[in-house]
């Protein structure tokens, strides 16, 4: 009788178990993203792929790869060559030079808060889905690192440290482009900027000057800057909608942006809205780096708009060149925009080589 009862209890316990008991295998240490409290309060959770969870070892490997010139064909450039911490992970050039001295036609994009790019469309033209896939491209781009992933994998595999680091991050010493880009993506997801003066103002730990507050009002006023429809607000700390717009840069396009990717002429001249965080560090501006200063950017929206068939309806008064805000309003708007600078972010040692 006791035996029958024992068997029943064992059956009960086993019958509710959803997972098979598996042989213990190596599992890297999970690492939660350090999400700013304002982000927690205001916006939905970041995107972390189920097949690439954040781990201490994965992020460490990704960081090493990000700063390692081994990714380029002549071992002269790393990701950080064009995405440096001190410039909020972009660079100061209009167009970045590749290993052969060639230049592209797009400005290097800053890297922060990418885990909140909910649609996961990356690059100025949104041509790649997912951060992992994004990381594949610069290595093989002939005007950037001009390498092949086969070569990179061979070099990493022959390296004295990398096989062990991949073992720690992914439980295998067999290196692949998939695992390398997973690691880089993990590191990039840790690059979170959420501690600007304006963030502190919203949290009640900093006070804006009257000019900065006036600038915020210009930003939010539909009849003046009307920046908030595309660039976030005090309720959206990303300061971008991560959507593609034609913001009236050109009457005739030399680069059609999203239109090249989608094949839809209605998308010609559309580029991703960049975040307004860290503008202090990320000049020059726009997808082609045509504006060297924030003043030039503001002037463009105020009186420099160019009409074209795909210009966004939000680019108001394009026939008059823009909404024509006053000199004082421009100065106030700039003062506000600079409150979005996150000095802690660019000085964070965890993000540096």
């Amino acid at each position: 009788m006791k035996r029958a009862l024992g068997i029943l209890i064992v059956i009960m316990v086993l019958s509710c178990s959803k997972d098979d008991t598996s042989v213990s295998k190596y599992v890297p240490t999970p690492l939660a993203l350090e999400i700013p409290s304002l982000f927690e309060q205001k916006i939905i959770s970041p995107v972390i792929p189920f097949n690439n969870p954040q781990t201490i070892q994965g992020v460490a490997l990704g960081k090493k790869l990000f700063f390692d010139t081994i990714l380029s064909a002549d071992h002269s450039q790393s990701c950080a060559s064009c995405h440096a911490p001190e410039t909020a992970f972009t660079d100061a050039s209009q167009f970045s030079g590749g290993i052969d001295g060639d230049f592209g036609n797009r400005n290097s994009m800053p890297i922060f808060n990418l885990a909140w790019n909910y649609d996961e469309k990356f690059f100025w033209d949104g041509r790649v889905f997912s951060l992992e896939h994004q990381a594949l491209q610069p290595v093989e781009n002939p005007i950037e690192m001009h390498n092949t992933w086969e070569q990179v994998v061979d070099d990493l595999q022959a390296h004295s440290e990398y096989p062990n680091l991949f073992q720690l991050a992914f439980g295998t010493t067999t290196i692949s482009s998939e695992l390398a880009t997973k690691a880089i993506a993990q590191f990039e997801r840790t690059l979170i900027s959420g501690n600007s003066k304006f963030d502190k103002h919203l949290l009640g730990t900093a006070t804006l000057t009257p000019q900065e507050l006036n600038g915020f009002n210009v930003f939010m006023d539909e009849t003046k800057g009307d920046c908030f429809h595309c660039h976030g607000s005090d309720n959206n700390p990303l300061w971008t909608d991560n959507v593609f717009h034609n913001n009236g840069l050109d009457a005739v396009f030399t680069d059609i942006g999203l239109g090249e990717v989608s094949g839809d002429p209605a998308d010609n001249g559309k580029f991703k809205t960049p975040s307004l965080r860290n503008l202090l560090f990320t000049a020059p501006y726009m997808h082609d780096g045509r504006f060297n200063t924030i003043d030039e950017v503001i002037n463009h929206y105020s009186e420099g708009l160019q009409n074209s068939p795909t210009i966004d309806p939000l680019m108001k008064k394009v026939a008059e060149g823009g909404v024509h805000i006053t000199t004082q309003e421009k100065a106030d708007l700039k003062a506000f925009l600079l409150t979005l600078s996150d000095h802690e972010f660019i000085n964070n040692l965890a993000f540096q080589n």
Partner: protein, 256 residues
């Protein structure tokens, strides 16, 4: 004997301990709302966007480039006066073909309802500034200087203006606000109840909700885009006219 009883009890426990879901009640079912769009009877989807092809009542020729709107608190009304309110909201995004089907979060009793209604936008209880992380993430909020809360609709595109040029319009609806005195905002409610009429709910019912986009420009106010095309959020009178015109925009479609 006690041992036999113990075995029987344990056996029952074994058989029942892993059942995670209740057997669904026969009288309750899932209901979904499908949002369909037309221009005076001609179907409209995002594949029709970006082309100037529609004429409004004022004979302005226009395109649609963006259409998003919010509905909330779907309510089922019984003939005996009882109502079943399904708390929640849905941001219909025609531009990106998202949330065109809204599966109600609550199960609804099968049967005949004298009316099904919903709120266009948010009522004042729900229109809480910054309260909804998904709507904040969708850049759907309204500036605090206009009273905060959220947009009800964003309809954007281009029209051919009276000098034969393409011009953008932004037909954004929010709670009407007179901000003449920024320190003393004066509001007028512009959310409204859409009554779809009688609906018979079957198992897994699917209810089509139709929006005739042309109605927003039609009646009672014949909308002239040359006069009102931009910066309408802070235009109190424009918001009231939008509210009036929206009353006839929605209707009940097919129910399955």
């Amino acid at each position: 004997m006690r041992k036999i009883i113990a075995i029987i009890v344990l056996s029952v426990l074994v058989l029942t301990s892993c059942i995670e879901e209740d057997v669904p009640g026969l009288q309750n079912t899932s209901v979904s709302l499908n949002f369909k769009h037309d221009w005076d009877g001609t179907n409209v989807s995002n594949t029709d966007f970006n082309s100037i092809q529609y004429f409004n009542e004022n004979n302005d020729e226009l395109s649609i480039e963006k259409l998003r709107y919010l509905i909330s608190n779907v309510t089922f009304h019984k003939s005996n006066g009882e109502t079943i309110v399904v708390e929640g909201y849905n941001l219909v995004d025609v531009t990106n073909d998202e949330n065109l089907t809204y599966v109600l979060p609550d199960q609804i009793q099968v049967g005949t309802y004298s009316n099904v209604s919903f709120t266009f936008g948010f009522d004042n209880t729900d229109n809480i500034h910054g309260a909804y992380t998904d709507l904040n993430s969708a850049s759907w909020d309204v500036p605090g200087m206009l009273g905060g809360g959220y947009h009800f609709m964003q309809l954007e595109g281009k029209f051919i203006n009276n000098v034969a040029s393409d011009q953008g319009y932004q037909y954004h609806t929010i709670r009407a606000v007179d901000n003449t005195d920024p320190m003393n905002l004066v509001f007028q409610d512009t959310f409204f109840t859409v009554n779809l009429g009688e609906v018979i709910v079957h198992n897994n019912s699917s209810v089509d909700v139709k929006m005739n986009i042309a109605e927003w420009f039609k009646s009672p106010h014949q909308w002239n885009l040359n006069d009102s095309n931009s910066m309408l959020m802070s235009d109190f009178n424009a918001q009231i006219k939008m509210y009036d015109n929206g009353q006839n925009a929605f209707s009940l479609g097919t129910v399955n």
